[in-house]
Amino acid sequence: MKKSKSPEASRAPFKVGDKVRVRDMPYMFYTRSQLYTRGAVGTIAALTYKDLIPEEEAFNFDGHVEQYYIVRFRQKDLWPGYPFDNDTLQTECPHRWLEPATN
């Protein structure tokens, strides 16, 4: 598992078009960052809203508020052997689940 390098809050927000990797982090009991996206590289398609993170809100804890993003993935990057080059998938992630990616 990749170790977090810096506190999420200190990283600059992403912009539309930025390449990001979904981090593979542990979580306690609840998350909305789906396993099938962990480690995959996608592109920021939109900045949506700022809100509590699900890992805390699920337990009625008003903790971190973060920027949420719609991230676009190529299906080929999510599923080995996916046969259609053009197909994509979009899902939402809060800031802490994303890190800058170069490839």
Binding site: Y36, Y68, Q90
Partner: protein, 245 residues
């Protein structure tokens, strides 16, 4: 003991109850418990709950159909729908902040309309549970909430669409929108050919729920989401059914 009636004797079909399975999940038990507590503590009344349930079950996808039909005929409205979905909903009579009229707000206030083009086809799913733009489209269909649809749509979208009868050429980009956070989505399909002089009302009729989920395309004459029911090849027969025949 005066009770002489015998059950289960041969030929006694009158008193045999129909086979029945009553199942309740842990979450349904939890919902009942939380609901009863909330009523007991005065957060809402049983009457409020009944009204809300009846409202939730009564709304259908009609407002969504009107939204798409209006966007097809009015470019300015289409631009609004793509830019500010909530504002566009208000113009077809749906206020996400006050959808019930009984003071219950929507759970989420982020709504995006996904525009299909000749090169791009959208389809929505929630892999997390059953997120769906309910204020606009009503309750989701039962199949939308099944794990079968949810897990297979993200992995095998074209195969799942084919099961709905929708086969798209490989050059069209199929984009799955997984609404697993707080945004809600609907699909704005392309206006089909052969509808040139149609009115908004006529157009709305062919924009069915399935078209706004993205598992079907609108076309003249298709005004309902009908999924064929295949007859079982080896139907199970119970003694109860035989007795009824």
């Amino acid at each position: 003991m005066s009770h002489t009636h015998t059950h289960g004797s041969p030929g006694d079909t009158h008193h045999k109850a129909a086979p029945m399975v009553e199942e309740i999940t842990d979450y349904e038990v939890l919902e009942i418990a939380v609901r009863e507590l909330a009523i007991e503590h005065g957060l809402f009344t049983a009457e409020d709950h009944r009204k809300f349930t009846e409202w939730a079950e009564s709304i259908g996808p009609a407002a969504g159909s009107r939204l798409v039909a209006k966007a097809w005929t009015d470019p300015a409205y289409k631009a609004l729908a793509l830019k500010d979905g909530l504002k566009a909903c208000k113009e077809v009579g749906v206020d996400w902040a006050e959808p019930t009229g009984v003071g219950t707000p929507s759970d989420y206030m982020e709504f995006h309309v996904l525009e299909d083009t000749p090169a791009l086809h959208h389809v929505i799913v929630c892999t997390l549970c059953s997120c769906y733009p309910r204020p606009l489209l009503g309750m989701s269909p039962e199949w939308y909430r099944t794990t079968n649809y949810r897990r297979r749509l993200v992995r095998w979208p074209r195969q799942v669409l084919a099961e709905f009868g929708l086969i798209l050429p490989p050059e069209v980009e199929v984009r799955v929108e997984d609404s697993n956070q707080k945004c809600r989505f609907m699909v704005m399909p392309m206006r089909p050919e052969g509808t040139g002089n149609w009115t908004e009302e006529q157009l709305a009729e062919i924009v069915t729920r399935d078209c706004m989920i993205g598992v079907a395309l609108p076309k003249p004459g298709r005004t309902a989401d009908v999924h064929p029911i295949q007859k079982a090849r080896r139907p199970v027969k119970s003694s109860h059914q035989e007795a009824a025949q």
